[in-house]
């Protein structure tokens, strides 16, 4: 497989006296889906926020396409091709799909003080991109609030891809979804990966991870237990790692293996 496009080395992040991450290493390659697993509060969101320029790591190095970088803002990460779809999707329910799609990168026409939004282009591109991802909008100015959770995920993902993401980070895209919508989001992930984009897929659902993941990294209390490839690990082993090993074995025993 090709070289890593993003490599994070020994990342630490402290919030005051809270240590959210204590030395996490991680990398992702073009065309693969690298799953980041972990229980609530394990530090997954914090980790990817350092990757996408929201937080600055307290310690550690970040290497993008072979060069060490320090991002001062999400904007800089975006410019480097790292796009994030957050748990909250970074979408605004009261605004239309089109306005959300272009938020922060609005297309303009005209010059000087008369520079204005190119609404026609904006609407056309939005409609066709949505269609490509299998979503038929009623109209381009439909409010995002009227879309289902899975549709919103897909809008957010297609927005990132359209704007040239080379690395796509998805923070729990399936956590709030039903079976069918989950399947459609996983299919979207698969499609994006096949386009040669590096996908970082965060979840605490092992089955969702196993469905599309090529490699898996488990975070626990701000540390990793290392990375494994899909053919070297089973779902139950992942499950154990996520819960911190020992305790899970005991738990599982008392629950009769239903977890």
């Amino acid at each position: 497989m090709s070289d890593a496009i993003v490599r994070m080395e020994n990342i630490e992040k402290h919030f005051g006296n809270i240590v959210a991450l204590s030395g996490v290493s991680f990398d992702v390659r073009p065309g693969e889906c690298h799953c980041l697993l972990g229980d609530n509060g394990a530090g997954k969101s914090t980790f990817i926020k350092t990757m996408s320029g929201v937080h600055k790591p307290t310690k550690g190095r970040m290497i993008v396409s072979g060069k060490e970088v320090v991002f001062d803002s999400p904007r800089e990460a975006m410019d480097a091709g790292i796009a994030t779809v957050y748990q909250d999707l970074a979408m605004i329910p009261l605004m239309s799909v089109t306005r959300n799609f272009w938020m922060g990168r609005e297309p303009t026409k005209g010059w000087g003080p008369f520079k204005q939004l190119d609404m026609k282009k904006a609407e056309q591109v939005t409609m066709s991109e949505m269609k490509r991802m299998g979503i038929n909008l009623r109209e381009a100015d439909q409010a995002v609030g009227t879309l289902s959770g899975g549709e919103r995920q897909t809008v957010a993902i297609s927005r990132a891809v359209y704007f040239g993401a080379k690395v796509l980070i998805l923070d729990e895209p399936t956590s709030a979804l039903g079976v069918r919508q989950t399947a459609s989001v996983l299919a979207t992930i698969d499609r994006v990966r096949k386009d040669g984009i590096a996908v970082v897929f965060i979840t605490h659902n092992v089955r969702h991870a196993m469905a599309v993941g090529d490699r898996f990294t488990v975070l626990n209390r701000g540390k990793t237990y290392g990375t494994s490839t899909a053919d070297k690990i089973t779902a139950s082993e992942l499950q154990d790692l996520m819960a911190g090993g020992q305790e899970m074995v005991e738990l599982e025993g008392s629950l009769g293996g239903t977890v």
Binding site: P74, A90, M103, Q116, L117, E139
Partner: protein, 367 residues
């Protein structure tokens, strides 16, 4: 294939015309203007809807409306400014002092007034953005601070009087004065009177000799701000910043800069109202703009702005302010006691908020 999709789009557009209309935030305010107009058509002296009557209620509507436009954009951007009323008094004082005490030419006095307003707008914005405190409370503090400073400054500038006079005299013959005071299009009105198109006195002079300049400022600002809000990236950023500042920031919207600009805009709207009304009155006092912050916010809410931000329009605030003007002046054309004004406004506000709530839920499919 392409033809087919084009066909489909056309049909969709047509079938959803009503829902398109319902989606506009200003719908409520337009309905309100219609309702108030009908009400006064039945109850008021018909003079109210003559040319002079209309200009009569558009003038206070414009004075409030310029404030309401700023308030509306700020509200869409997710913030409030309760200090705009006091800001009118304070910038009115700055303007008056610049003209009478410092004897500055009008251009410099105006520049100085806007500069002071912008500075206070920035102070408001800095405090709100740095501390994350609700703008409601920060600007409430400035409501009192600026009102107090206006009183103190007035006494200092006038050696203890409560009114600063002599402003009209100091701008007489200033080339810039007609832009900010008096009436515009006087030639046009004379010409129309000459042709018998508008009412004239027996000597041929028109009964209404022009349009008060504040109305033109009001209309012009409405057009510009509507364009900014709906047709520029900055407008998209304002909606985004108010809809969800965090999401907007994560998408690369310069939320801080947007909010700063909005606070400055709101303060500058107050300064503009101060300049217009002080020139109109020829004097200023510390009560200028009293409680206008509430009226401006009410007009913006009637115009469809949500108190939670992220939704609203400048056109809505325009019509909201016209409702104010119509009710304020309209009651004098009826048998109804003026004291009902506030009851009427409170009622309008309540109806508007309830209406906005329903519309928003319908439009956004809030679950």
């Amino acid at each position: 294939m392409t033809v087919e999709t084009a066909d489909k789009d056309e049909r969709l557009k047509e079938s959803s015309f009503v829902s398109q209309l319902l989606k506009r935030p200003e719908l409520g305010a337009i309905a309100g203007v219609v309702a108030v107009t009908v009400f006064f058509l039945f109850t008021a002296n018909p003079v109210m809807f003559s040319l002079s009557g209309v200009l009569n209620f558009l003038t206070p509507a414009a004075q409030l409306g310029i404030l309401a436009l700023g308030a509306a954009l700020l509200m869409v951007g997710g913030e409030f400014d309760l200090s705009v009323g006091s800001m009118v008094a304070f910038t009115g004082l700055v303007f008056g002092v610049a003209l009478t005490v410092f004897q500055l030419p009008l251009l410099l006095a105006i520049a100085m007034t806007f500069a002071v307003a912008g500075l206070f707008g920035l102070v408001n914005a800095e405090i709100v953005l740095r501390t994350g405190l609700p703008s409601f409370i920060v600007t409430l503090a400035f409501l009192f601070i600026l009102r107090g400073l206006s009183l103190v400054g007035l006494k200092w500038a006038t050696n203890g009087s409560t009114q600063l006079r002599g402003i009209r005299e100091s701008v007489e013959n200033d080339w810039l004065a007609p832009v900010f005071s008096g009436r515009a299009f006087t030639g046009l009105f004379e010409w129309m009177a000459g042709n018998g198109w508008i009412e004239a006195f027996s000597n041929g002079k028109p009964k209404v000799d022009g349009i008060p300049v504040e109305i033109l400022w009001f209309v012009g600002l409405t057009l510009i701000l509507t364009w900014v809000l709906l047709r520029t990236p900055a407008g998209n950023w304002i909606f985004a910043a108010g809809g969800d500042a965090n999401s907007a920031k994560n998408s690369g919207v310069p939320v801080r800069r947007v909010k700063m600009a909005l606070f400055v805009l709101t303060a500058c709207c107050a300064a503009l109202v101060a300049i217009l009304t002080v020139l109109d009155a020829g004097s200023t006092d510390a009560r200028r703009g009293f409680q206008k912050e509430f009226e401006a916010i009410i007009a913006a809410v009637i115009g469809g702005c949500l108190l939670t931000g992220g939704y609203g329009s400048a056109i809505g605030a325009f019509f909201g302010s016209i409702i104010f003007g119509m009710v304020l002046i309209g009651l004098t054309y009826t048998q109804i006691d003026q004291d009902w004004y506030q009851v009427f406004l409170g009622g309008m506000l309540l109806i508007a908020v309830l209406f906005n709530n329903i519309i928003r839920k319908r439009v956004t499919g809030e679950r």
